[in-house]
Every structure is written in C-alpha cells, then in structure tokens.
Symmetry: C2
Subunit: 201 residues, 2 copies
Amino acid sequence: MGKGILPQPLIRLIEQFERLPGIGRKSAQKLAFYVLNLSAEQAQAFATAITDAQQNIHNCRICQNLTDGEICAVCDDPARDKSTICVVEDTRYVVAIERTKEYNGLYHVLHGLISPMDGIGPDEIYIKELLERVKQGGIKEIIVATNANVEGEATAMYISRLLKPLGVKVSRLAYGIPVGGDLEYADEVTLYRAIEGRNEL
Amino acid sequence: MGKGILPQPLIRLIEQFERLPGIGRKSAQKLAFYVLNLSAEQAQAFATAITDAQQNIHNCRICQNLTDGEICAVCDDPARDKSTICVVEDTRYVVAIERTKEYNGLYHVLHGLISPMDGIGPDEIYIKELLERVKQGGIKEIIVATNANVEGEATAMYISRLLKPLGVKVSRLAYGIPVGGDLEYADEVTLYRAIEGRNEL
C-alpha cells in the first residue's frame, strides 16, 4: 500500500529488504533509497557479495562451522588444542567466544538447538556428527556453550547424557552469563568468566 | 575484530550490510547469516534487485521523482491536476502523501533541503528545475510539503520568495504535523488535515 506509485525495480528491491529479519517497511524503504545512491560499482560489489557468500560458504567437514574451504580456519590451525570441543548453537557464538581470546580448543556448531516446542529434535541439528567426533577418540572435554534458556539447557542435558557414557568430560558454561540473556551480547569479560568457571554436567 | 575467524566471502557480505544506514555490526552479521540460508535462486533475486534498481531507477524528467521510465507514474497520469505542484524533500514523501489518497496534483522532488550548516545551498537541490516548470506556465499553486524543521522552513521560505513574484500561489502544509517531527511518520489523517489546512506563505 502506498508503494504503487514507485517504479517496479524499486518496489522489488524494497520487498527484498523487507524479507530480511528485523527489517520493517520503513527501514526497507530507507535501505532501498540508499542503494539507489550507490555507484554502479558499489551496487555490483553488494550484489556479488550476496551471491558469492550464498554460493561459497558451507559447513566445515569436521566441526560444521562456516567456511569457504573444506575445513574451517579453527580446525585448520595446528596450534589449537584438539582435545577440547566447545559446542555452540551457531557460528555467531564461535565469533563471540573467539573474541575473548581465552579459548584455544576446537568447536562444534550445532546449527540449532533441541526445541520440542518447534518440533526440532536431536536429529535436526548436528549432534550425530559430534558423537562421531568423540567416538574417533582423542577428545578429553566437551564444553557446551549454549544459551541459558530452555532450548539451550535441553540441548546441554541431551549432549551430556549422550557423551558421558563414552568417558568424556562434559561441562557447561558457568552462569556468569545472565539467565535468559543472549550469549552473543555478553561482553568479553563476562564470557571469559563463564568459560573459566565452567561446571561439569 | 572477532571477524577474523569467519571466511572471506562472509566477511565481505557482513561489511556490505554494515555500510547500510542504521545497520550496526551485530545486525549486519544477522542479515549475512540470513543470506547464507537463502536458496541460490533467492540470493540471485536479491542480488539482481540491487543492481537492477541502481541501474534502472533515475529521476523523472519533469518532477525529479524516481522512475524507471522517462517520466514518472504521477506525471504520466492524465487524471492528475497539472496546475498544482506539491514540493517534497524526497520520494519517501511522495509515497507518504499518496497514501492519504487526498492529493491529486503533481509533485516536485527536491532531493534535499537547503541547509547552510551542511553547506547545501539552493543550487545543490532541484529548485532551478521547479522554477523552470513554473515559468513554463499553467501552474496555479505550489504546496511546499517539507518537514517542520529548520531546513524545511528555510527551503519553504526560499521557494516562496522565488516563486511569488511569478504570480503563483505558494502555500505550506498546516502545522497539523508535529513540529520537529518527521513528516514520513505522520498518520494518514494528520497528513490529510495538514494538506486541507495549508496556509499561503
């Protein structure tokens, strides 16, 4: 409504922006007008970044972290401690934990959390792949770094019950992170304390 | 910082989103992850919408409104009253005023407002083109529909002094719109009242 007066290519662009998470109609319009003011080169660079990322980014063969190669930068780093795996919901949390500069182990990215309410069970996320990694041996500790909400707790409990019988230590981030809060928004110090004070499950 | 762990194509995409107005680092990351989950077709449609809009949208030859043709949908509409021109800051306000369904005249889009503080004088916006339109004759009234802030007032006064000597009526939106507020966010009724109660300058 009210968009009818705008030319079609602009409407299509506004609609594309409107689909993005957290972007409403007014914001989409503002972003579209911004694009109109770009140079042809800038617009092309933006468009290429979108198709390029969509085409070339996939999951690391080992840890399911995002990468444009076969294995990700963390798994590929010989200096990392291969006996510890930090399990996270998605790649945003890898970025957040790397920012603390205090963790030197590997990761495992679940790409989701167990959520019976949303019909997401253990098979819908990358838990099977984590189990395989542990079975291959050499892993001493699994740090479950999911958010302190219902889904995060459920996922941590499930992983703990699954992996403890294999003789691996399973720990959970300390409740330094605010309960109900989002791990991604924790500052470096809080996140560091949470890693240091992790508790065995 | 902290992005170093992400693959290059993803970093490039995040940086593109970060340049958008009102999008910070966290939002840019969220939007980039959203793009990764698109299908190849969806990503291509998004990318094409960007280059397409940038390439094909330009100013209407008559009123400087955005169009993908030579003249815009309003100027091209034979049912519009060609004797009245509503002067707006940019195309967003054309959309807002069209939403009221109460205005049936033409527009003139300035693509900015006079702002001595920012070094924007009358020559930096499309005032010269408005003057030419009035000089060509047939215009009875100019409604200046700029925001009720310093730049909006300055621009309205400038246009009034420029065009009144030509024998055209110059009016201003009534102060139904909240002073200091943004015209784009006014509801339909307020905007309609403001058009109805417009005052001659």
